[in-house]
C-alpha cells in the first residue's frame, strides 16, 4: 500500500509532521475489505456508533444528574420534566443501552458462525470479549444510578454474589459497597466508574479496530483475501453500506425512543429505592437474563463448594469459555456455511441462549412456557448444561468428525459462481 500524496499544502504540512491523515486514509478509505461481506458485517460499526451516542447523551445527562442517594431519583425526574429535551436525552441513553447489547450480541454470534475467532484473529476476538465484559460492568452500574427499586435491589443481588467467595467474600462485598449495605458511597463509586468505563471501552475499541486492520476482515466464506480482486476499498463501498445500515438501525432505535421508551424497562424502577421493601421479583435488565439463569440454575453443592459459589463461577465461566474457543474449535474450516453438521448445532446454541433468557426472567418454580411438570429451574439447568456442552464438547468433537463441504478457491470465485448465496 503506497502512501497517499496530499496536494493540499496545509494537509501535507500537518501530515508530514503527524501522519494522522494518512492513518485515517489507510484505515477508513483504502482498507482492503472482502467484497462479499453480508449485512451481518454491519453490526460492528453500528456498535461503535451507539457507543458514541451513549457517551454523548451520557455527558449531557451528567450535567443534570445528582449522584446522591437522597436526590438521584428526583434529579432523574427533573431531567424528564424540567430539563429542555431531558426526556429525549434520557430515553436515548436508556434505549441505547439495549440497542448496544442487541448489536454486540448479533456481532458476537456472527463471529461465532463464521469462525471469526480462529487464527489469526484470536487477539481481535479476545479484545471483543473484554469489550463485552466492560460493557456489562458499565451497564450494571448505570442501571443503579436512577436509584429506583430495581436499581437498588439489582445492585444488592449482584454485589452479594461476591460474598460467595470463601474467606475474602464478606470483606470484599463490604469494600465494594463502601459500607455495610448498599448506600450513598456505593452510588457514588458506581457513578464514578460508570463515567470512567465507557472511555476504557473506547480505548478497547481502538485496539479492536487496530487488530482488525492488522489481520483484515473475515468474510462469509471464511477464505482469506488472496488477490487484489478479492477485495474492494472500504470507501465508498462499505462507508455507504454502513450508512444505509445505520439508517435502518436508527429507525428501529428511535421508534423505541419516541413511541415505546419504556419497553425494555421494569416498571419497578419508577419507584424510588426503598431498603425496607423488596420487590416481588428482582430481575436484571434483559441483556443479563441468560447469565442470570446460569447463575440460578446451580442449586446444588458439589465437592464441598456451596451452590452460590458454583453459580457465580458458572456465570463467569459462561464468558471466560469464549476466550478459549479459538482452540476448542478443531475444525479446519472457518465458516459454518461449509460445515453441514456444526451449522445445526449453532442454531441450537442460539435457541439455547433464548431459553436461558426466558428462564432468567421467570421465577424458578414457574412452569416453563406454561408446560405443567417442567419447571423453569429444570429447563434452566438443561439449557446451562447445553451451553457448556456446546463449547466444551460439541465444538471440539464435531470439528474433528465433520466432513466440511469443499471451499471455494477464493472470494472472487465464490462470488462469480454465485455459490455464496449472498
Amino acid at each position: 500500500m503506497s502512501a497517499p500524496v496530499w496536494n493540499n499544502k496545509v494537509v501535507k504540512w500537518v501530515d508530514d509532521r503527524l501522519p494522522i491523515i494518512s492513518m485515517v486514509h489507510h484505515a477508513a478509505y483504502e482498507y482492503p475489505t472482502p467484497k462479499n461481506l453480508s449485512y451481518m458485517w454491519n453490526f460492528g460499526s453500528l456498535a461503535g456508533f451507539i457507543l458514541v451516542t451513549m457517551i454523548l447523551s451520557g455527558i449531557f445527562l451528567v450535567m443534570n444528574y445528582t449522584p446522591h442517594a437522597d436526590m438521584a431519583f428526583d434529579s432523574v425526574e427533573r431531567i424528564m420534566r424540567d430539563v429542555n429535551y431531558g426526556w429525549l436525552l434520557r430515553y436515548l441513553h436508556v434505549n441505547g443501552a439495549s440497542m448496544f447489547f442487541i448489536c454486540v450480541y448479533i456481532h458476537i454470534f456472527r463471529g461465532l458462525y463464521y469462525g471469526s475467532y480462529k487464527a489469526p484473529r484470536e487477539v481481535l476476538w479476545w479484545i471483543g470479549i473484554l469489550i463485552l465484559l466492560a460493557m456489562m460492568a458499565t451497564a450494571f452500574m448505570g442501571y443503579v444510578l436512577p436509584w429506583g427499586q430495581m436499581s437498588f435491589w439489582g445492585a444488592t443481588v449482584i454485589t452479594n454474589l461476591f460474598s460467595a467467595f470463601p474467606v475474602i467474600g464478606d470483606p470484599l462485598v463490604t469494600w465494594l459497597w463502601g459500607g455495610f449495605s448498599i448506600g450513598n458511597p456505593t452510588l457514588n463509586r458506581f457513578f464514578s466508574l460508570h463515567y470512567l468505563l465507557p472511555f476504557v471501552i473506547l480505548g478497547l475499541v481502538v485496539l479492536h479496530v487496530w487488530a482488525l486492520h492488522a489481520v483484515r476482515s473475515n468474510n462469509p466464506t471464511g477464505v482469506e483475501i488472496k488477490t487484489p480482486q478479492d477485495s474492494i476499498p472500504f470507501h465508498p463501498y462499505y462507508t455507504i453500506k454502513d450508512l444505509f445500515g445505520m439508517g435502518v438501525f436508527l429507525i428501529i432505535y428511535l421508534y423505541f425512543v419516541f413511541f415505546a421508551p419504556n419497553f425494555f424497562g421494569e416498571p419497578d424502577n419508577y419507584i424510588m429505592a426503598n431498603p425496607l421493601s423488596t420487590p416481588a421479583h428482582i430481575v436484571p435488565e434483559w441483556y443479563f437474563l441468560p447469565f442470570y439463569a446460569i447463575l440460578r440454575s446451580i442449586d446444588f453443592s458439589f465437592l464441598g463448594m456451596p451452590a452460590k459459589l458454583l453459580g457465580v463461577l458458572a456465570m463467569f465461566a459462561a464468558i471466560i469459555v469464549l476466550f478459549v474457543i479459538p482452540w476448542l474449535d478443531t475444525s479446519k474450516v472457518r465458516s459454518s456455511r461449509f460445515r453441514p453438521v456444526y451449522k445445526w448445532f449453532f442454531v441450537l446454541l442460539i435457541i439455547d441462549c433464548f431459553v436461558l433468557g426466558y428462564c432468567g426472567a421467570k421465577s424458578p418454580a414457574d412452569p416453563f412456557m406454561g408446560l405443567q411438570g417442567l419447571q423453569v429451574i429444570t429447563m434452566g439447568q438443561l439449557a446451562t448444561l447445553y451451553y457448556f456442552l456446546h463449547f466444551l464438547v460439541i465444538m471440539p468433537v464435531v470439528g474433528k468428525m465433520e466432513r466440511p463441504k469443499p471451499l471455494p478457491a477464493s472470494i472472487s470465485e465464490s462470488v462469480l459462481k454465485g455459490g455464496a448465496n449472498a
Binding site: Y39, V248, I251, P267, I271
Partner: protein, 256 residues
C-alpha cells in the same frame, strides 16, 4: 436485500416475543382500555385531564401526594396563566425561613409544587392504618400495564371477599391488587365531584378521567415526544431509502 429484510423482520419478531415472554408476570392481567393517548398518533384529551385533576385534588389528594406536580405544569392540561395562579392560590404553602428566622405560611404560586397531605411517610402511615399511600406522580409508569392497571384497580373492588378468603383487618378485597388485599378503601363511588364542565360524574367516568390525569403526570412529555418522533421517523425513512439507492448505484459494478 430481501434476505436482509427477512432477517431484520425475523430478528424484530424474536426480540419482541422474547421481551414480552420474559416480562416478570404477576397478578391478574387488567382489561386493555382504549385510551386517547394510545398508538402512534394518540394525544391527551385536555377536558378529560382537567376533570381528572378535579377528581385527584378533591378525592385522591386527601391521602396521596404528587411530588412532581408543580402548579405551573397545569398549563400542560389546558389551564391558562390566570387559572393556574388561581388554583395555586387555593393552597397554603410553608415557606421560609424569613429574616426573623421563622417559617411562615403563604398562599401558593405557580412555581410551587402540589403540597403533600402528610409531612412524612410515617405520618401518612399512622393516619392510614399503617400503610403509606404511595406518591401518584409516576404511578402510571411504576406498575405493569400502567393505566390499564390503575383503571382496573379503581373499579376492581368487591364488597365481599370470595368464600374461603380470610381478610386481614382493615383490608379490602380487590380483584386486581397483587394478593387481593389492599389497604386503600374504595376511593370512588360516583358523584364524588361535581364536574365543572357538566359531565355526569359516574364512577366509570371518574375512574377514566383520573387515570388519564395520572398518565399525564407520569408522562407529561408524551405529546411532544410522539410529534417529534413522527418527524424523525419520516425523515429517516426518506434518508434511508435514498442511502439505499446510493448504495445500489455505488455497488452496481461490483460482483458480490
Amino acid at each position: 436485500m430481501r434476505k436482509f429484510a427477512l432477517t431484520a423482520i425475523a430478528a424484530a419478531f424474536a426480540l419482541t416475543a422474547f421481551a414480552n415472554a420474559s416480562k416478570a408476570s404477576e397478578g391478574v392481567v387488567p382489561p386493555e382500555m382504549d385510551w386517547s393517548w394510545k398508538g402512534l398518533f394518540g394525544t391527551y384529551d385536555r377536558a378529560q385531564l382537567q376533570r381528572g385533576f378535579q377528581v385527584f385534588k378533591n378525592v385522591c389528594a386527601s391521602c396521596h401526594s404528587m411530588r412532581y406536580l408543580a402548579f405551573r405544569n397545569l398549563e400542560g392540561i389546558g389551564f391558562n396563566d390566570d387559572q393556574v395562579k388561581a388554583i395555586a392560590a387555593e393552597y397554603d404553602i410553608e415557606d421560609g425561613p424569613n429574616d426573623d428566622g421563622e417559617m411562615f405560611t403563604r398562599s401558593g404560586k405557580p412555581a410551587d409544587h402540589f403540597p403533600s397531605p402528610f409531612p412524612n411517610a410515617k405520618a401518612a402511615a399512622a393516619a392510614n392504618g399503617g400503610a403509606t399511600p404511595p406518591d401518584l406522580s409516576l404511578m402510571a409508569k411504576a406498575r405493569a400495564h400502567g393505566p390499564d392497571y390503575i383503571h382496573a384497580l379503581l373499579t376492581g373492588y368487591e364488597e365481599e371477599a370470595p368464600a374461603g378468603v380470610e381478610m386481614a383487618e382493615g383490608k379490602h378485597y380487590n380483584h386486581y391488587f397483587p394478593g387481593h388485599q389492599i389497604s386503600m378503601p374504595p376511593p370512588l363511588y360516583g358523584d364524588d365531584v361535581e364536574y365543572t364542565d357538566g359531565t355526569e360524574a359516574s364512577i366509570d367516568q371518574e375512574v377514566q378521567d383520573v387515570t388519564a390525569f395520572l398518565n399525564w403526570i407520569a408522562e407529561p412529555e408524551l405529546e411532544a415526544r410522539k410529534a417529534m418522533g413522527m418527524k424523525v421517523l419520516l425523515f429517516l425513512l426518506v434518508l434511508t431509502a435514498m442511502l439505499y439507492a446510493v448504495k445500489r448505484k455505488i455497488w452496481a459494478k461490483i460482483e458480490h
